[in-house]
Symmetry: D2
Subunit: 488 residues, 4 copies
């Protein structure tokens, strides 16, 4: 769960990268980093904990010289938030000098790590799969070019061999110092990556290019959408702005991650040809049907979203059910730390710091709450209790996504299976655990249909709902290992 962006411009790209990261901030708020390269090949890098606006100082930014650059926002996995060694971008100086960022998750890190020690003799200074990926690519680039005259074809050869060695979900952007910007996407296109172009400001200027996780970055900086980077495809843009592309995977199949549409992506993005906002309206439309099947409509007085991402679905549920739509919860934008005075006990962070229920909207009413999805269920439980405390007569809780019952191994942080509230429970059992009068979940097929409807998309990764993993090697042993590593 990260956001990435890379740019080749006719002038300094640091401010544009920074602006793009602000737009991608929703994809990760724990750390951020920017790297740039000057035509001489000299590279600059700044990375720090926290959100973009806090992380970079003016002097950091002014040191980020160069017309080629990339940036990253990071959603840290448990326990790694303040681990400087895990922050992106990563850099290797041989061959050529490469910096690299990545959104996704590799699923054969154990094999790759062994390879690095035994075969590639490359040092890994973190447990980051991004560092692994960079070193695989670096090793292949070294093998690719017997001399220094690197060209696009040799770069693509190296990507081809990288695809053959790594498994999982990955959208990658890298700078090869003195050569250009490289981007590629895994053969299943699980994580998003889109390409944009902007005409140079002056006549005779080269085109300027951007590759990034979400289309809104393009829209915001007046790039036109060229297209999504294809599954398995690599894009190489030279320092001078010349574009090369090549399909570098043997077998490809576009199966993007459904969770991008459910809650990860910004609603104003268009991803794989599908408007995220509209897919959420359609999720609401189909969810309304399922609700109508299971709930007597006179048991619903009002429909309310859990802000912000479920707002479109909830609006559409209300419209279709012919019920009043009200915003009974107010989301507090400003959150802060907990300071422990000496001798004081640690406070439990509560949902109430982030959400406030307006009693006047709840008092005496049968409320239907719509959330985008339910993972652990702890938040939902508190929200339901808040609704009751605010005077709700009854609380029906509906999720625009189906029950999450399986691990997500493609780059979205999720707890272990036994922490998923839906793992091994029926829907009425979940309702009981969460304290809802009734629960309604979207059907798996409805979610899929809501997303792909009207687009060229044929398939989606929905493994956390249905347990079917598109990459071949996700065995029960692997899933056990993943969960064990997380908790250790």
């Amino acid at each position: 769960m990260c956001g990435i962006v890379g740019m080749v411009g006719n002038g300094p790209v640091n401010q544009d990268i920074y602006d793009a990261l602000l737009l991608l901030q929703h994809r990760g708020q724990d750390a951020t980093g920017i790297a740039t390269a000057e035509p001489s090949g000299i590279m600059h890098m700044a990375k720090a904990e926290g959100m973009v606006r806090e992380a970079f100082r003016t002097r950091d930014m002014r040191a980020l010289l160069g017309n080629v650059g990339l940036g990253h926002v990071r959603y840290a996995t448990k326990g790694t938030a303040s681990n400087e060694e895990e922050m992106q971008p990563f850099y290797v100086n041989a061959p050529y000098g490469i910096v690299l960022i990545h959104n996704g998750n590799l699923t054969n890190t154990r094999e790759l790590t062994a390879d690095m020690a035994n075969r590639d003799r490359r040092h890994l200074n973190s447990s980051s799969d991004t560092e692994l990926l960079l070193n695989v690519l670096a090793g292949e680039l070294q093998a690719s070019a017997s001399d220094v005259d690197l060209d696009a074809d040799r770069v693509f050869d190296a990507v081809e061999r990288t695809h053959a060695r790594v498994e999982g979900a990955y959208a990658v952007i890298a700078i090869i110092a003195g050569y250009g910007l490289l981007a590629f996407r895994d053969p299943f296109g699980i994580r998003p990556l889109i390409l944009g172009r902007r005409a140079g400001a002056a006549a005779g200027d080269a085109d300027e290019w951007v590759v990034t996780s979400e289309s809104l970055v393009l829209e915001n900086a007046d790039y036109e959408i060229v297209r999504e980077v294809e599954p398995g495809e690599a894009v190489f843009i030279t320092d001078d702005g010349e574009l090369f592309t090549r399909q570098c995977a043997q077998r490809t199949q576009l199966t993007p991650c459904a969770f991008e549409y459910v809650y990860l992506a910004r609603p104003d993005s268009v991803m794989n040809g599908v408007s995220v906002y509209e897919s959420r309206l359609r999720m609401g439309d189909r969810l309304a049907d399922t609700i109508a099947k299971h709930v007597p409509l006179d048991e619903i007085d009002v429909v309310m979203p859990i802000p912000d991402s479920s707002r479109p679905s909830a609006m559409e549920v209300a419209r279709k059910l012919g019920k009043e739509y009200r915003e009974g919860f107010y989301k507090n934008r400003y959150v802060g730390r907990t300071f422990i005075m000496p001798g004081q006990a640690v406070r439990k962070k509560s949902v109430r710091q982030k959400l406030n229920a307006m009693s006047s909207e709840f008092r005496g009413k049968n409320v239907l709450l719509i959330d985008d999805s339910i993972v652990r269920g702890t938040t939902s439980m508190q929200i339901i209790q808040m609704a009751r405390d605010a005077g709700a007569k009854s609380v029906i809780f509906a999720s625009a996504a189906p029950p999450v019952r399986h691990p997500h191994v493609y780059g979205i942080n999720m707890p272990s299976r036994h922490e998923l509230v839906a793992h091994g429970r029926t829907i009425p059992e979940i309702a009981e655990v969460l304290g809802a009068d009734r629960m309604v979940y979207q059907e798996v097929e409805d979610l899929k249909a809501a997303i792909i409807e009207g687009s060229d998309l044929e398939d989606l990764d929905m493994s956390c709902f249905d347990g079917r993993y598109i990459t071949g090697t996700i065995t029960p042993e692997y899933l056990d290992w993943v969960e064990k590593s997380q908790t250790s």
Copy 2:
């Protein structure tokens, strides 16, 4: 435009003050400060630029010892953002040791400043009216007590004389070291101030008290609402939690600022007995009628809010007009700085950094945009253009507040009259300036009715709409002086 909070507790209040300031953050994001007092009278203070979560370090917070405290978030006026001398709280050590914070604006600062130099011999180290107010109060407290046995009555005597000397809008919280917490509100109750109580955690514990700008602070920390502090009233809570109150003004008349309801306050606050959220729904209801009077309904395909504060009004407009409600604009929560590379020109900050228009919602449609109010008009102009760029066929722009044609002198930052787009213009002229196909403004009487309907409120300060100033001495000469001081 500030937020204030004061607390008297049975244990350290620093974390609670901090949490309250996060909840009041929408009232000011430029600077913040906290002061606390220990029973010994020792006071601690921390203040810094920026938002609450950035401003206070752990060690600052841990140094803020004491069971009595107050906190402030500040919306800086032009040119004073980084001026440390202007930050609140202010402190004087004679008499007793007093720290004070204030939300509002004094309108006789020229007279008071002269008094300080010529009569009170007190040093002012800033141009802040808060420092003035503190020194007036300090002078009166010094006069009030011929010896050290300060009690509530002598404190109230000093407030009475302070009311007699200062003019304008003010909600004030102060700590008198070793004595207690004092709060008072101007005789017209222009700025809000509400009192809450919480039973002590253990049997025999004293009650805990809070005074603050908005009710949601109470709700969030499980205080019950006692009542609003009355116009002209003072509240004094001793270090031991004993409450004293007295009406300290000769003549009072409750006329709260209408702008709190229009956009300043959080929707989940109840202010002077009026739910802010519901008042905004009613503004939408009445605005719908006005729209219907001026616009053929078939010229409207869809109703959209300018997020966030106009959402309830827009929702209600849509419902009443029977039109579809859609959220065509996405608000970016993350904003950052502009970094200037050597040799680069300064970039103009654009609304587009904060708002993004989703083309799919606009294409080919006649859109009715609802905003809470229009001041300068520059933002509205850009929004209308964004709607057109996104493909809107026509754009009708409606404001839930009437035209702003007069200066606001009671604590809300506004530009000079000639910068107000509605100053000296008819509504069609405004439409032309802003580039809208049509403009609709709420009627002045409708706004008033929408706010006070169903409550005990009888009057409101609506001076920026109608030019009638409740405090006596707002002369044209004064208004000219204010505008001149701002620009100099």
Copy 3:
């Protein structure tokens, strides 16, 4: 043990104050502060922990506007190093606005603190005697001027009444906002204060003035020495550079602190007409005689100083005894913190971090080590052991000051009596405790003579050597109270 400086210039004084503080850094390295005043009366202040070069950032310095200013370096007493509330300067805003700094120690703080609460109704926010002194002065200034037309005479009246109320050692510098710079010295002149003047750079410019702890500040910035501020005298320099002086004490008697000459002052200062460097040479001269009386000269092969302050004395001892002078100890200028790794034990700080013994100078030799003074004896003990470890055959240890057997109550931090190695011990007993083969101490009368010889000085404060306190009220009860407060 602090350093102070005040200036009235024709241009900004911030850089000059900063430079002066660097020169006074040896007088205190725990915290530092600067305050300046603009002609308008607006004052600016910056204070921070640590040494001058670390404490002030560029933006702090640039904010310190004004032609009148003062600065302070602080040697913190036990447990108060990081206590922001104790840092100087202190500020009160009534009357007039005053900032004040102070070098010394008041001995009637208990009485003054009670007065503040019961009579002056002024708030003290620290346990600093500087804050007390400022409030006494402020109270007297308030009483002094029935209206605002403050002039030098009224200021001096207030100083006169301040002298009558406070007891102890104090050299004081203050700014009265909008009026000028005030400096005064206690009636016994225990702590130093010197006045300098510099002609304005341009024709017609007013003279520029400085008052400070040590003459080297004057020399370094091309001020000529006007004279020491007399015991009990006050100096007032208006914002425009006009100088007024008046004797404000009833009875005065110059008895400066002997410790300034022994080790506190810089050798290149001239204090009360006595060159510190030359007084140290004379201490060596007289010490040599005492050594010759007690030690067979053939038991001494080489004379070595404990760097830096005993160097002149040691050089003179060697010359007079006709022995070789060598520098066997090297002083490490760079010291740093101790970082504790989790699970590690705390390291004891050792003298060896600061001193290194060069074995080649010690091996097989009878060494005579000269130190300036011995307080606790812990350092001396380690140094003697280092000399032995480096191969010394025998170690004779001599102190240029007599045994320290009594508390110092006039502003030099010393441990309680029972921690003084000489308290209740004969010289042979001390030798045994410290592990020296022999000990030699300067005679009390010799120290006095060495300092005043050839000057107009008639008396010195030598209370820590002889137990005679010049200010009347130092009772055994007071000394007990002081020691108890320090350890609590």
Copy 4:
């Protein structure tokens, strides 16, 4: 002009590295860095501008885990002080993971840089010769080991090939992640490097090892001196504390840099078997003879050092000439920045900020000033003027080192030839430029004899005095290029 240290211990080495850097601080105060390696091969690094005590925060230090570590203090060359990219240590991740630090200067950087681009395909991100050296070594290590079973012999093979490729002066310490600590010294032993050992604290513990620039680091932490690392020799200590050594150069010849003895090293160091302190005494002894040859002794009243490094020489000059030795200059330890107020002109930094002349020591006297060496002459000129201003009747200036007339290319920063005051000038001409009544310089042969006397040393690098460069390829063209690169 840098200081380096490396350690292999039985526990965390971070605090010991830090303490060692404090002791080496005199060798460089512009930047500093530490790297450590855990047994797993994970490495940690912290580097920052400024002095050791300012540069490292507690959390930086606590993150520096591992029993193997190295540290560096840096004296920046012109214009690179704040250049983060130039700071040491440097890191490459292939092969193995290597961090490296270096004291010295390579003289064939142009050839090596071309090699990197054309042959090694390794990216250089700075103009640092350390980065070059690291990459040469890394390339040779990669070639050295066809598989991962790296051992000491293969490491030494790589060092052998590194010696063959690089030219100049270099003392190097590196960590090979997961293997151990490597140190080596150039074939002429120009820069110092000494090896120490300490028995493990507990029975059965392995020995602990240190390699560093100066012996005092060993002495201070209770390491015994094993020996200097030989010219051309490499030392490899495994993570487990096993020591391997091998001579890796074809032809070696010990010719250490004379400047270490003249002023760079600390007097309490023993370098190549020569006590630095004693060599300085001998320099004084021989300088006295030369002075006696050129100056009538009755023209000298007093001998004074320019503190600190010329103190031993001056003391010995005084003793031998039978003249009084006095310290007329006081050295200010505390220096700070210059803050420019808006509108102010930049101040010239003056020697007077660092030195103060005590008039009483100068007035009416013929003074003989002793300095360690004279480079540009600007400082000497100011000092001579200060002596005159303080009242000196005449000023004779003597230098313990001969005239510096040639560039220093082996790691000591010097200006270009035309900035050297002695370049192209006779001694009387220099006297005239500097304003001295007379000048006396040490003879070249006397300096050499003073250093090597009584030791096994046979030769010294004295190229900046005599223009003879021990490494073969220092051509006039090269010297021109060096000077041109510095000024550009």
